[in-house]
Symmetry: C2
Subunit: 333 residues, 2 copies
């Protein structure tokens, strides 16, 4: 294993120091407590969004902290849930008195720890709502999950619910839109090569020279099948078919489409694959209203990509377009 | 080789279709002529910035086309210079009558082809200035280069000269600031794994399981030495020493620091490495005024990173901070 690390034991801690050094003007990184928050103090009356999960998926979640998106993120160890103390520290720091929305990817450890934190926060009189993200259509029940896994739609949920919270909506409304976005979003991923966790020191799974994992999870969980590598236009059909089977779309539906790299796939290939996907969607009468191509919900140095589509509506597109200023996602005035 | 491609022969063309599909609102991609321009028509009296080079370094250069940065980019085949016809088509499209600045990385093919395009454009009465970027301190004269190679500083040049052009400065002033930025910038790169061009189908060079290439070029050109992998803090010292030896800095100098991933290195590792570099710079009394961490000047799926530092001044920082709206770099109102 060759990585830019000091020791497998200190990867997340060391990376948080770097994250702090890179964004001193816009973020506060509490390395000891494992909490990333916006530099500015919480606005009274604003619903706060707190997310988190295992590290290794950067820029998710820490890179999505900032105006228009998250108020705080709690990074766990690599591929390991953060602990409830982190979420409690985050809540204490960012709560503006209007309640807190937890955005939780559907993995057993995350679900349990965010639930525990929600109970403890409630005892302190802080109102908490939770949205579980479970957009990955590849499999039901997986290595770390009961039900579907949460993957690329997390970005959609954090962006759109974050925008609504920024506008001053109350907790029920922010939680509702978050759940709506999750319900209307589906994802599917293909890996060309496994990623390597620093602790394991070798790839999470083995693929032959011509083999791919179809339906892979963001921790390298098994998908639907091992298959032979094929041209991008054939793989594009696999992505599109898998998502649309679970998310029927008409040409009247506005959509938000994310083609996400898993960490080690170059942008040149992602754009190429996106071109094939866009052509297929057009053939099938699906309109791409907004799109995003790049590395957003990664899996360390896994080579591969995931497609996420949200069946949006006018309001969701407006919230998507609202300004966002985070290290990982920025637009608008 | 496992890549999201259809055929090694059509990679760049296919990727340009995807690039067009991803950014229909902000860019025009002329796939046939191999030119990427801004969606809006050129502003009369504005100096136009045109860059380009071999593909495989995305988001450079096409991802840096947009308000505040480039007016056009000419993508060559993978690791191959664009041809003069591309630059001439770009000039014809974006010239606003105030002259055109060519931003050229110092590789023999690029230098020759941009020079030829400049001569032909001059015959058509269009004033052209050229800035050669040659910031990589690793080696003098390399596989494709006489003199130093052009790498990460290209982003600084395109951003800062682009900002000045946006403000309405004339060609001489824009070219001057571009050259100043190049003169004041130095880079150094380390590869952990080679990248694979689609045409070759195998890694550009071979490294043992514990071996790294110190001083590597962005096409996998040999660096200074093959060495054994070491902890990130030791490698950080190697980056910092190499750059500062060639670019002495005092604590009075504002700096812009880019820690750039080569394509397959996850953000988690880049942030970790940046933390070590930031700590070392602080020890040596160097102030990081602005920083950028991520994949900007890549080398297909090479694993590795490069450090670029610009010894700035107040004016250069102001130009750096000016708004920019491109697929690869965005900030400001």
């Amino acid at each position: 294993m060759k990585k830019f690390i000091n020791s497998p034991d200190t990867v997340v801690r060391d990376a948080l120091f770097g994250f702090a050094a890179a964004h001193p003007d816009r973020l506060c990184v509490d390395v000891e407590r494992g909490v990333i928050t916006r530099a500015e103090r919480p606005r009274a009356g604003k619903v706060a969004l707190v997310s988190g999960g295992g590290s290794g998926h950067e820029p998710l979640h820490g890179g999505f902290v900032g105006p228009g998106m998250l108020d705080a993120a709690c990074p766990g160890e690599v591929f390991t849930s953060p602990v409830p103390d982190q979420m409690l520290a985050a809540v204490a720091t960012v709560s503006g008195g209007a309640g807190v929305l937890f955005v939780v990817k559907n993995y057993t450890g995350d679900v349990m720890n965010f639930e525990m934190a929600a109970e403890l926060a409630a005892e302190d009189g802080i109102e908490i709502a939770t949205v579980l993200v479970d957009d990955d259509v590849a499999v039901r029940d997986s290595t770390f999950t009961a039900g579907r896994r949460g993957t690329g739609a997390t970005l959609f949920v954090e962006k759109i619910a974050g925008a609504l919270a920024e506008q001053g909506a109350d907790l029920a409304a922010v939680a509702d839109v978050a759940r709506l976005v999750n319900e209307r979003s589906r994802s599917f991923a293909i890996a060309l090569e496994a990623g390597t966790t620093p602790a394991a020191g070798r790839p999470g799974f083995d693929l032959a020279d011509d083999e791919i994992e179809v339906g892979v999870g963001i921790h390298g969980e098994p998908g639907r099948s091992r298959e032979t590598i094929r041209p991008a236009r054939d793989l594009a059909a696999r992505f599109v078919d898998s998502v649309l089977k679970d998310l029927p779309l008409s040409s009247a539906d506005p959509t938000i489409v994310l083609l996400n790299g898993m960490g080690a796939t170059p942008l040149l290939e992602l754009y190429l694959l996106f071109g094939e996907i866009a052509a297929l969607l057009e053939e099938r009468g699906v309109v791409i209203t907004r799109s995003l191509v790049g590395n957003y919900v990664t899996s360390l140095d896994m080579a591969g990509a995931s497609l996420t589509i949200c069946r949006a509506d006018e309001r969701l597109i407006e919230l998507w377009d609202a300004p966002v200023h985070t290290p990982g996602l920025t637009w608008g005035g």
